[in-house]
């Protein structure tokens, strides 16, 4: 586990907010005093407070992975799935978005000589880009991305620019192999050798990845995307049930967890 930088709360200025592929957008925010972040950490963004008109619906901030950062500029890649992301998609340069972060604990690094297998799907892809970027060159890194169709793929070109092996699966075959990303994972694992799996995406995908890794005796960590209200451990709303009967807070103890400790059947 990486030790965490103290989070800050600020009204960040929108530098740009442009559509990437499909329903995905790329938001760049200037966050004065941003302390940096570990791959896998996230921030809470308040789209309700975007437009400068005080409004209480939708009320809650939205958790978004920090895609990457340059100095005090952070980048978020997000998909419009509902009201909060819909509002976020409308903010214009110069406007302000409330940001609280960086939050949570990141992915750790692989052990010496371990191959890093990053498997991500849907909005989960945004959570693993920085991990791939920081491990690239220093470890043997394989990035397996899955999406429904080519357009849904987040950050495809960014990954392609890294010193990593990139493989893609799309359910409609419009990019890479036709099928699920877990099929790619299975091949990777069959290749054998010491490895560590990093999974982020829909719960079903992460569960399948965890099962595959377990069956090969390979360590697997997953990054959960629970609904959150606060993001820093006080509302207790994001709890993930643990195999031992207890529960952990996704925002504070995660979002990254060792797949083995989770009670998968009860994950919302």
């Amino acid at each position: 586990m990486s030790d965490r930088a103290l989070p800050i709360r600020t009204d960040a200025q929108v530098v740009s907010n442009e559509s990437a592929s499909g329903a995905n957008l790329r938001l760049v925010l200037r966050v004065p005093g941003f302390p940096g972040f570990e791959p896998g950490q996230f921030a809470m963004l308040s789209p309700g407070a975007c437009t400068g008109v005080d409004r209480s619906d939708p009320l809650l901030p939205r958790p978004m992975a920090i895609y990457r950062a340059r100095g005090d500029e952070i980048e978020v890649v997000y998909k419009v799935v509902g009201r909060g992301t819909g509002l976020l998609s409308q903010v214009r340069p110069g406007e302000r978005v409330r940001v609280v972060g960086p939050l949570g604990l990141g992915f750790g690094e692989p052990g010496p000589g371990e191959r890093a297998i990053l498997v991500a799907g849907g909005t989960g892809i945004a959570s693993v880009y920085e991990l791939a970027a920081r491990l690239a060159g220093r470890f043997d890194v394989v990035v397996l991305l899955g999406a429904r169709t080519r357009d849904d793929l987040m950050g495809r070109d960014d990954f392609a620019g890294l010193d990593v092996r990139l493989e893609i699966a799309s359910e409609d075959g419009s990019e890479g192999i036709e099928g699920l990303v877990t099929a790619l994972l299975e091949d990777e694992l069959d290749a054998g050798g010491p490895a560590r799996v990093y999974a982020c995406g829909p719960t079903a995908m992460m569960r399948a990845a965890a099962d595959l890794a377990a069956s090969r005796g390979v360590a697997c960590v997953v990054s959960l995307e629970n609904t959150m209200a606060c993001g820093f451990g006080v509302c207790l709303g994001c709890a993930a049930p643990l195999a031992d009967g207890g529960s952990a807070l996704v925002c504070r103890d995660g979002p990254v967890f060792d797949a083995n400790i989770l009670r998968w059947d009860a994950l919302a």
């Binding site: 209480s56 994001c238 919302a268």
Partner: protein, 306 residues
């Protein structure tokens, strides 16, 4: 700021009338990165039970129009860990009010006893919005007789100023306030979250794993203001106003209706520094309107109305 912002809440002197609400401010130190806890009047810690408790299965929260639903249940570290680990972690000069909830009256009393004589605890808030097992799950705060027993038992166990936090899920909030006054409470806090239900039309089940949950946030503010005003008409007890406060103006509304202090809840999630801004804003409002003391705002709503 030339305005005197200090207020007295049921015998607890506060540097300003802004507290933060139980369950929305953790055990305090979670907010240290965002807010100097000395900027606000104080905070009410997450409600405590005798033993540590794990809460409900997820989903535990859901969004609602201008609000949110929660069904966290009793999850907390337990009274002993609170005293041993959480309190010492707080800087000096931070006013802490401990909140207590349990499923049986004698257990409430026992938790209060464990808090007795703990130096950092400036006051105790009895959370009466908890399902009472013996009366088939209805909240302690929903039955005047049960509420009376609870307040009486707690009063015997509590030496510091004692607030009773009322449930809004009642026909007559004034009657509940009178019960608290009659049984010797030093003050009352209201309102707790309003019992509610949100439905997932795709899965055709409640959004929350628990089914019902508590509605909080701006949506309930007009209901909370009404109840605080009604309680203030009915009793002399100091009142701590709670419900959907998002700004200094919102807080002032509660003071005008008769609250001696307020608690900020759900808004802490949206903006962990907001309680401090609200405290400053209240002072600015008082100054702008020519009030020498923030306490002069309490109950200053023009009468003959309502």
């Amino acid at each position: 700021m030339s305005v005197d912002t200090g207020v007295d809440l049921a015998g607890i002197p506060l540097r300003n009338p802004v507290l933060t609400a139980s369950g929305t401010f953790g055990y305090g130190s979670e907010f240290a990165p965002f807010l100097d806890l000395r900027r606000i009047g104080g905070f009410v810690a997450k409600s405590l039970t005798l033993e540590p408790r794990v809460g409900n299965l997820p989903p535990r929260i859901a969004e609602a129009p201008s609000g949110m639903l929660n069904a966290i249940s009793l999850e907390n570290v337990g009274v002993d860990a609170f005293v041993r680990e959480k309190l010492p972690a707080l800087p000096e000069g931070v006013v802490v009010i401990a909140s207590v909830f349990e499923t049986e009256i004698d257990r409430y009393a026992e938790v209060c006893k464990r808090l007795a004589g703990v130096g950092r605890v400036a006051g105790i808030e009895i959370n009466a919005s908890c399902p009472h097992v013996k009366s088939g799950g209805i909240e302690f705060g929903q039955d005047p007789a049960v509420l009376a027993q609870l307040v009486r038992a707690a009063r015997r166990a509590v030496q510091v100023p004692m607030l009773v936090k009322l449930s809004p899920n009642v026909t007559d909030i004034a009657a509940m306030a009178r019960v608290c006054e009659g049984e010797g409470a030093d003050g009352i806090s209201l309102i707790n979250a309003v019992q509610a239900l949100e439905v997932d039309v795709e899965r055709r089940r409640p959004v929350l794993a628990n089914g019902l949950g508590g509605l909080s946030g701006p949506a309930i503010r007009p209901i909370a203001l009404r109840m605080v005003w009604q309680a203030a008409q009915a009793v002399k007890l100091p009142i701590c106003g709670i419900g959907g406060i998002t700004s200094a103006e919102d807080a002032v509304k509660f003071l005008l209706c008769g609250a001696s202090a307020v608690q900020v809840g759900t808004s802490n999630y949206l903006d962990p520094a907001i309680a401090g801004e609200i405290a400053d804003g209240i002072a600015a409002y008082a100054e702008r309107c020519g009030f020498a003391r923030v306490s002069d705002l309490v109950g200053a709503l023009e009468s003959g109305t309502g």
